[in-house]
Symmetry: C2
Subunit: 200 residues, 2 copies
């Protein structure tokens, strides 16, 4: 395995993941949500799509072995491994400055949307509005009356997933900066995570 790279709390990163390579994403402290996107290399208008992926699974959340498909119905990633309890979210968009303003924040607040755009700029890709991400480790319980909530992740420190690229793609990860609700742990404190592109 190549070395684990730390993704600092509240920040994002974008990198190329060639077809066949596997990506390990580690919830170092067990409390952190990682927003994850995949764009087709050379044509980012085609990207991993949660609606199309749900249509492939006929479930809300992927399990190991499930494909993640694009808005053209092509498999871009596979979920190869998941040592976490398997609680992820495909329903809620990434946080953005507009959301923080709705929640009462004045002025600037880091967001997954900003992390997405800033990270992609390092690869000379401009995409002002992010697609809906795969929110790894995000805990959105549904109550019996159908209402949704946001709760702290139910992971152990070191829980991880492995995604395998089924085509050449650009992956974007954001260690979610949300610090108002317990999205990132009961203490509402964003923390660092880690990732590695695996050999072979």
């Amino acid at each position: 395995m190549t070395e684990l790279v730390v993704l600092p709390a509240r920040t994002g990163v974008a990198f190329r993941l060639p077809q066949g390579r596997r990506l390990k994403i580690v919830n170092t402290h067990g409390t952190q949500v990682v927003d994850c996107w995949a764009l087709v290399r050379g044509d980012p208008a085609e990207h991993m799509s949660m609606p199309h992926s749900r249509n492939a699974w006929y479930r809300l959340v992927p399990r190991p072995g499930d494909p993640l498909v694009t808005n053209r119905r092509r498999t871009i990633l596979h979920l190869d491994e998941d040592t976490s309890p398997g609680i992820h979210d495909t329903l809620i968009p990434c946080c953005d400055l507009e959301r923080y303003h709705q929640l009462g924040i004045k002025g600037h607040h880091e967001s997954c949307a900003e992390n997405f755009s800033t990270a992609l700029q390092t690869l000379n890709i401009t995409m002002p509005i992010p697609p809906a991400p795969l929110n790894l480790f995000m805990n959105v319980p549904m109550k019996a009356n159908g209402s949704l909530a946001v709760a702290a992740p139910e992971c152990k420190p070191g829980d991880h997933v492995v995604l395998r690229a089924e085509m050449d793609c650009i992956v974007v990860l954001s260690a979610c900066p949300h610090d108002i609700f317990p999205v990132n742990g009961a203490d509402c404190t964003p923390r660092d995570v880690a990732y590695a592109v695996l050999d072979g």
Copy 2:
């Protein structure tokens, strides 16, 4: 009320809906799904977004009084009235040629994605990949084990919804051409619906 316009089975339409106007969509036969989109007039990159709307509702499906918000978190429509049982879908993307090919169709098949693009071309708007629509009257039951299914709509003939425009927008409607699963009734037969832009 202005006159009801028939939207023939398997077809789509796009039209301008000015801020403050209300749109009635009638499930004439009670068995038909209507895929519905709203784009900001003059900036279609901002459009009605199911993930952002779910985040506003903290539910999967809108109820009368709920806002429908854009991918910039602005309210574009309100669901004003709903005489149906309130069973709609926000989870599944619109059907497209790729999906029909996955389901075994050879060659061409009408689709909501094609209807979307073709209808928008009449307004000189090019948008090759549709956002996830509000699937009016679409019945996607969730089983106790969390799996999703597709079932026939549970509407009476003539059930309708009324949407109110909160900004100048372009609305696209597609009478879903799906005829393989019972999306559009137990007999898998797409049927016409109707709509009217209401006075005042």
